[in-house]
Symmetry: C2
Subunit: 180 residues, 2 copies
Amino acid sequence: MAYIQVPEGVPGIRSLVMFRPETGKHLYDLAQALLRGESPLTEAERELIAAYVSYRNDCMFCWSSHAAASRCLYGDEKNIVDEVLNDMHRSNVSDKMKALLNIAGKVQILGKEVTDEDIAEARKHGADDRTLHDTVLIAASFSMFNRYVDGLASFTPTDPVVYEEMGKRMAKGYVLPQQQ
Amino acid sequence: MAYIQVPEGVPGIRSLVMFRPETGKHLYDLAQALLRGESPLTEAERELIAAYVSYRNDCMFCWSSHAAASRCLYGDEKNIVDEVLNDMHRSNVSDKMKALLNIAGKVQILGKEVTDEDIAEARKHGADDRTLHDTVLIAASFSMFNRYVDGLASFTPTDPVVYEEMGKRMAKGYVLPQQQ
């Protein structure tokens, strides 16, 4: 049970933004701009970075839902998502995505972990300023979402089918849920 | 020098949101709602939580600027800020604030670190649902801001006078800087 009184049965961050829509609105707007707005990274790639960071932060609600959204957006290539979560370095993502996921993993630990060499490696494989910016901000923002969701012990479903449905909805975009 | 090409000489997060105002807008709106909007916590207390988390994340730009904003808002009681940064448990903040800062420190590590006992201790000293919510979201959001600022190696001034001036501006609120 969540540490504060949120709408019953509503999972994860949805229950928290319904408790406090004044801040929730900006959290959903940020997710929409960052994960669905214009970017050199595809929506599938951005969801993969979100899932990867959330998995490293052991936030089951966030990694399960964003992995589901990423699988949905990758379509026929959806196996890539589980490969990355299981072992990113041995997965079949491109060298560019490996370099970006490496940066995201450093940001997940702490901002200062990112080095000149990490950035140079990503640039070598074609990452431009906007790609680097979006990678770091996605990793940073999920360091927030994960802590918000677990820090208040919000409801975390365990049925994979629930996440599959959630992923389909999320693939269409992030819209603040209405209050009950 | 920052890892991406941001406006020269502009410090910290300001340079990053000028690079990408589409996401920057929501980051500033979130800070304004969370740190200046209606809350059972005073603005000084909320800035103190932000400074405390940023200090623990070793993000000099964020802790220096939010400590300055908190000192400005605490006025005659401004010494409390440095007491908390030096040794929270021995500082002269109330038992309620100690319980909330303890929760913020747990969130800084990871959401799951927060326990039923941490929440019960805060409630014992009068913290309600909104107080707990805002404490966790401030701690979570600074886990993002800190990583964004340091993960892209944005410009970090070292002169305390610069932060004092910044704190006075921040005490008035968070408004997205215009692009140069």
